[in-house]
């Protein structure tokens, strides 16, 4: 706990902990590798050549910076009388592959190359991280195996096909609840078996140290860009940042550069499923408690005996019973406010965003938009809200059609 109390940005400590959270809770077989990933990461992050390569690809391959867009119609729509915040979207859905996941995939594949690894594995829920991983593996000519829960393989069929087109092997996982958590279990089993040549390209700010920190540092490009863009657009910092949270990568990328700005309020939106008072949701902070899984100490949905329970969300990308350890710490510190939005609210927000702004958002940021819809009308006119529009919704149209009773 060597973290300085006067900054929210100095974590993790040298043992990979954010307060009590984080750490390296992995099987001994993986420990030497985890330590070598940490060593490689520490060297890379201090190497200007590494970042030059990252930035080159971010600009010309991903298409960064992503635009900061003033959502005028949404602003007008939610305004009530003399109230109504000014709403901006940070448009990471315009990235190559359609979501923010490509940011940390480019970064991690560069690291894997530096480490001399010759095979990449990854887990995926909605398929966005799987597609982004398959994409960078095609670009860097690395064989790639994606673990995906059998349930998700079914509900995200377009992304499964995309991964295959990109040359990845998609392995459906049928153990447990057949969703993201089980895909991660299976990826860890593969990693422990192929520890000599394989890099596990973790898809969020979770897993053992240094992954939560490393993925955060790659995703922080979102918040860093926003800072400059907002200064240009409004001449000041935003008042409120809103992002959806599954594992928490897009939210951490948006929030982290602003954590030490006391006037910037931050809201993380968890997936409330059928409601956090039911047993069908994915809100680990609101409805879970501290525990240990997937290499980290954090908040997890679990029963009294410490058995991890199944998460539920209409959004496959948020359907995970845990959350990144830095979010757990920020939750305890009360620096970030964490709320939840139900499946139905997200579904309504999805349709509203499409009709209002001509943007079809993914179901994940539809959760964030649903929360913006709840708060915008109560905020003053000069209040600036920025929502991370972290993914586009093409992949979700079959799920939405199904929920609306429409046959495509």
């Amino acid at each position: 706990m060597a973290m300085q109390q006067n900054s929210y940005r100095s974590g993790p400590d040298e043992r990979g902990h954010f307060g009590p959270y984080g750490g390296r809770y992995v099987a001994e077989t993986l420990m030497p590798l985890i330590l070598s990933v940490e060593e490689a990461w520490n060297a890379a992050k201090n190497d200007p050549a590494f970042w030059a390569e990252f930035e080159e690809l971010a600009k010309h391959y991903i298409g960064r910076p992503s635009p900061l867009y003033f959502a005028q119609k949404a602003t007008q729509h939610f305004a009530k009388g003399d109230k109504g915040a000014k709403i901006y979207f940070k448009r990471d859905e315009l990235n190559h592959t359609g979501a923010h996941k490509i940011n940390h995939c480019i970064g991690q594949v560069l690291l894997a190359k530096r480490m001399g690894k010759t095979r990449i594995i990854a887990e995926t829920g909605a398929g966005q991280h799987g597609v982004a991983t398959a994409t960078v593996c095609a670009l860097f000519d690395l064989p790639c195996t994606i673990f995906m829960g059998a349930t998700d393989v079914e509900r995200q069929a377009p992304n499964v096909f995309r991964m295959k087109l990109l040359g990845a092997e998609v392995r459906p996982v049928t153990s447990g609840s057949s969703t993201l958590k089980d895909a991660m279990n299976e990826a860890m089993r593969d990693w422990v078996t192929n520890v000599h040549d394989t890099y596990y390209l973790i898809g969020t700010v979770a897993g053992p140290h240094p992954f939560p920190q490393m993925v955060r540092d790659f995703q922080s490009v979102i918040g860093k860009e926003l800072r400059g863009q907002m200064m240009e657009a409004e001449g000041r910092l935003p008042d409120t940042l809103v992002a959806c949270i599954g594992g928490g990568s897009n939210a951490m990328g948006l929030f982290h550069p602003f954590l030490d700005e006391p006037d910037v309020r931050m809201i993380g939106v968890e997936a409330g499923g059928h409601g956090v008072d039911t047993d069908a949701h994915a809100a680990s902070l609101t409805g879970g408690r501290p525990g240990i899984l997937h290499g980290m100490q954090s908040y997890f949905l679990q029963d009294a005996d410490g058995q991890i329970t199944e998460a539920h969300s209409i959004s496959a990308g948020l359907d995970y019973p845990g959350i990144g350890p830095e979010h757990a710490w920020l939750f305890d510190q009360k620096r970030v406010n964490y709320v939840s939005v139900t499946d139905q609210e997200a579904l309504d927000a999805f349709q509203l965003c499409a009709k209002l702004e001509g943007i079809i958002p993914a179901l994940e940021p539809s959760h964030a938009f649903a929360h913006v819809a709840k708060i915008a009308g109560e905020l003053p006119k000069d209040h600036i809200v920025v929502m991370n529009l972290c993914g586009r919704g093409d992949k979700d149209i079959f799920t939405i059609a199904d929920r609306l009773g429409v046959k495509i």
Binding site: Y25, E28, T29, M31, V192, T193, G291
Partner: protein, 269 residues
């Protein structure tokens, strides 16, 4: 406090053979059947018993032990019941070391101090917590201090000169040598590769070395016995338990199988 682990290793050394360590999952397929197998293991030749603590997400285990955990949880398995099973066993047997093996989350959910106290009361001699490497096991080490429970460390094919001292510092009972990079129940280790590694490790410590993972047959056990102080057999025993008829549980096929393994170790003298 008890010295059951030390006593067993001294005794097999005198006999000039390796110890047989058997793994079963607590509450698999249900409490009564599992307890019957557990009670029968020493008579069938098990020198040390590892009792699995069921967990929903066993990331270091292959399919056989994953399914055992699921059967155990489905029939009401929990940390309380695992400890109750250990206690029932200990009432009848005061000599066979009993090691609990599993994952950290159920221990933390129970509360480490309460867990350590209740485990000691139930007659537990050692703990193997797969996802608590030395970097993260200080809270557990503190909780078991003075209770006569050893924290058993894992050594793996990836353990090198830089890593081993870290593993030995704080290691108790014996070293569990994970003979393959992989999950439980996977392919057998390559003897040619692990033999020099194990002999190097034995040169660095006085703790006995038990070899586990991928040991499925009496022949495998015999071969590993030649280079280790103990061999651990898990998945293939659990596979026999999976075939038990829950409506009329009969432990004898499981115990017969263990008997065959024990006989092989005695033959390999």
């Amino acid at each position: 406090m008890t010295k059951r682990i030390e006593t067993v290793f001294e005794s097999v050394k005198v006999q000039g053979r390796a110890a047989l360590v058997t793994f079963i999952m607590a509450n698999d397929p249900d409490f009564e059947s599992s307890l019957e197998v557990l009670k029968g293991l020493p008579g069938a030749g098990a020198d040390i018993i590892e009792l699995g603590m069921p967990f929903s997400d066993p990331v270091a285990d292959g399919a056989v032990i994953q399914l055992a955990g699921q059967r155990a949880l489905k029939s009401g398995g929990s940390m309380k019941r695992t400890l109750a099973m250990a206690e029932a066993f200990r009432k009848e047997n005061d000599t066979t070391p009993l090691i609990l093996m599993g994952y950290a989350n159920p221990l933390y959910a129970y509360g480490l101090e309460a867990f350590a106290r209740d485990a000691a009361k139930a007659g537990i001699d050692g703990l193997i917590v797969v996802d608590l490497p030395p970097e993260e096991d200080h809270e557990l080490q503190k909780a078991v201090q003075g209770l006569g429970i050893s924290v058993i460390r894992l050594v793996t094919p990836t353990t090198d000169e830089a890593r081993l001292p870290k593993l030995l510092n704080g290691a108790g009972g014996f070293l569990y040598y994970v003979s393959i990079a992989g999950v439980t129940g996977a392919a057998r280790a390559d003897l040619g590769k692990i033999t020099p590694h194990i002999s190097w490790i034995k040169g660095q410590t006085d703790l006995p070395v038990a070899i586990g993972f991928g040991i499925k047959t009496a022949d495998d056990a015999q071969e590993m016995a030649a280079i280790g102080d103990a061999v651990v057999v898990g998945s293939s025993i659990v596979q026999k338990i999976a075939q038990m008829d829950v409506s009329a549980p009969d432990a004898s096929p499981v115990l017969g199988y263990v008997d065959g393994l024990a006989a092989a170790l005695k033959r390999s003298l």
